[in-house]
Amino acid sequence: MTSSNPIISIQSVGKSYGSFRAIKEISLDIEHGEFFSLLGASGCGKTTLLRMLAGFEDVTDGAVLIDGEDMTGVPPFLRPVNMVFQSYAIFPHLNVTDNIGYGLRKQKLPKAQRQEMIDEMLSLVQLDGYGARRANQLSGGQRQRIALARALIMKPKVLLLDEPLGALDKHLREQMQLELRRLQQALGITFVFVTHDQEEALTLSDRIAVMSGGAVLQVDTPAGLYEHPRTREVASFIGHMNFLEARVTGRKNGHATLDVAGLGTLDVPANGAALSTGDRTSIAVRPEKLRLHHSAPENGQRAVQGALKMTTYLGERSHFHVEVPGCDRPLAVSASNATLQDGRANAIGQPVWLTWAADSLIMMNDT
């Protein structure tokens, strides 16, 4: 966010419907050529924010700048962005060629050149030879590609995608994810992608903004969000997470000393948390970062003893619930079956020991 020349600059943007605040003062910069995702549950304001970029919703407060130009009052048909709609919005009265060429009509190009551009787009989205088909003769995946081609042929500075994969089945979805990423890298166009699917966002994006209740909670790379979520909401939204109650007992330059329920006193990186001694917080740890042992570790490594409550065999992995004295909920542990020691792990009630790497404990900024 330090770049001097972002393609999209969202500056203290807010949106109200009457007394309801749909968007609460969001500021974001999106860089040239970035695959940027807006991730959140339905109703979090991500689609509203996208529609504000497209110009379908006006901005109540603040301003949106696209390529340095203030877009306030600029109608959708004059903005240098194009959108792929959730419903695809393929024109039912036109065939594939006319759908893709829809936006070119205004540019008064020679017919041959237009056709050439359309053919190029058809092969880019791997639909060569489909030009004469009508919209109702296409499958969901094909409509999706037409919607993409129709937007991309306009050579937009930014392509806006509103949950474009939501209506596809799982297999097609994964295929289209790869294809989207390939297209984005080949064309170098900035993509702003709205999704409620955290896995999809992690797979596709350069950066992700996690949204909730009309606000952006955290903007980071997929790895950054996964490894260093700052709040409990972000941590629980992305992947599985164990939370442990904690209290700050001391702070010194970038580290905090915490009294963690079940684990005792620990020294962890502060993770940007502005908490001081005495504040309540929590510690988050991913199930796969906890290591399960059947006997007390001998090398003097710090460990906590618990009792195995439940195991679930998932083929590639196994999940365990371990009850640790002092924790109000059992800790979830996930381990690859390739590294598990032996079948003894499956006995319910048997004592086990958990260890962790120092950097796998994440201090939350809130309780």
Partner: protein
């Protein structure tokens, strides 16, 4: 488990079994009341009419020898062609006027009314709850020599003597038909406009079209089914209408319907009336086909 109920049904015989077995049979069974009504009310009278058109009048009775004499008369005597042409002209203008006037109303309700849409539709069609005859008479009061329009124009000093062309003219017939059939235009237009997916209009805007182009390239082509339906619903019945021209038409306002009515009434030449009805039906069918063909072509060109 699953085989048992199937065998149970197959074991049933007679009508009941057939009802369960054949989807097509069940479909016809459900349709049968409508089919009976259509057959008795439309097909049979039409066949009678068709047959009678090949008869001739003999005194107060019919000569049932088959002949095309009536059709020859209809072609040879120019009065029939004149009336037919005038009917198409008057109802054509009335149809175009109605659709043009009703489109904005239907558009407004479909796109700009967000609450109580049904209430709006009911209010718009409210005048049509009164009798057709009553509405025609109402227009007589409005358009008359000393009617509402003339009286107000006179009192405001825009004219010095009443406008005579308002009543008993083709204009009067066209105005009255256009108003009387408005509900039949608004409803199909409203339905076809309401059905248009709003994201299509957003997509058009996103691809660079301003409001006017958006309307011409998306809204209008997608509402064409409604326009075609409205056109047919008005053009077909108004061409044969005889009440409005009889009450408001005056000398140059009479239409083919009046002529047909005369044949069945005062002239008492039923076979001739039947022949004229058949000719009218065939012409309407031909015009309808050409119209559908043209709108299909237009749709391609505009898009």
């Amino acid at each position: 488990m699953t085989a048992a109920p199937a065998r149970h049904i197959r074991a049933r015989g007679g009508l009941h079994g057939a009802l369960h077995r054949s989807k097509a049979f069940r479909g016809y069974a459900l349709l049968s009341p409508a089919l009976v009504v259509l057959f008795v009310g439309v097909v049979v009278p039409f066949l009678i009419l068709l047959m009678m058109s090949f008869w001739t009048r003999q005194g107060f009775d019919f000569d049932t020898t088959m002949t095309t004499l009536n059709y020859a008369r209809a072609v040879d005597e120019p009065i029939f062609g004149t009336f037919l042409l005038r009917s198409f002209w008057v109802s054509g203008i009335a149809t175009v006027a109605t659709v043009l006037l009703c489109y904005p109303m239907a558009y407004y309700v479909a796109f700009h009314v967000h609450r109580n849409k049904m209430l709006w539709i009911i209010l718009i069609t409210l005048p049509f709850w009164t009798s057709y005859l009553l509405r025609v008479f109402a227009w007589r009061v409005i358009l008359g020599y000393e009617g509402v329009i003339n009286a107000s124009l006179l009192s405001m000093g825009f004219i010095e003597k009443p406008l005579a062309f308002l009543l008993y003219s083709q204009t009067a017939v066209i105005i009255t038909l256009a108003h009387a059939w408005a509900a039949f235009a608004i409803l199909p237009l409203y339905v076809s406009l309401e059905k248009i997916d709003r994201s299509l209009l957003e997509a058009a805007a996103d691809l660079g079209d301003g409001p006017v182009r958006r309307f011409l390239r998306v809204t209008l082509p997608l509402s064409l089914p409604g326009v075609i339906a409205a056109t047919f619903l008005i053009f077909i019945p108004t061409t044969g209408d005889y009440i409005t021209p009889a009450l408001l038409g005056g000398p140059d306002g009479a239409m083919i319907g009046n002529l047909i009515q005369l044949q069945f009434g005062a002239v008492n030449n039923w076979p001739m009336g039947a022949a004229l009805s058949i000719i009218l039906t065939l012409w309407i069918a031909a015009i309808a086909l050409v119209f559908v063909f043209l709108t299909r072509r237009a749709e391609r060109v505009v898009a």
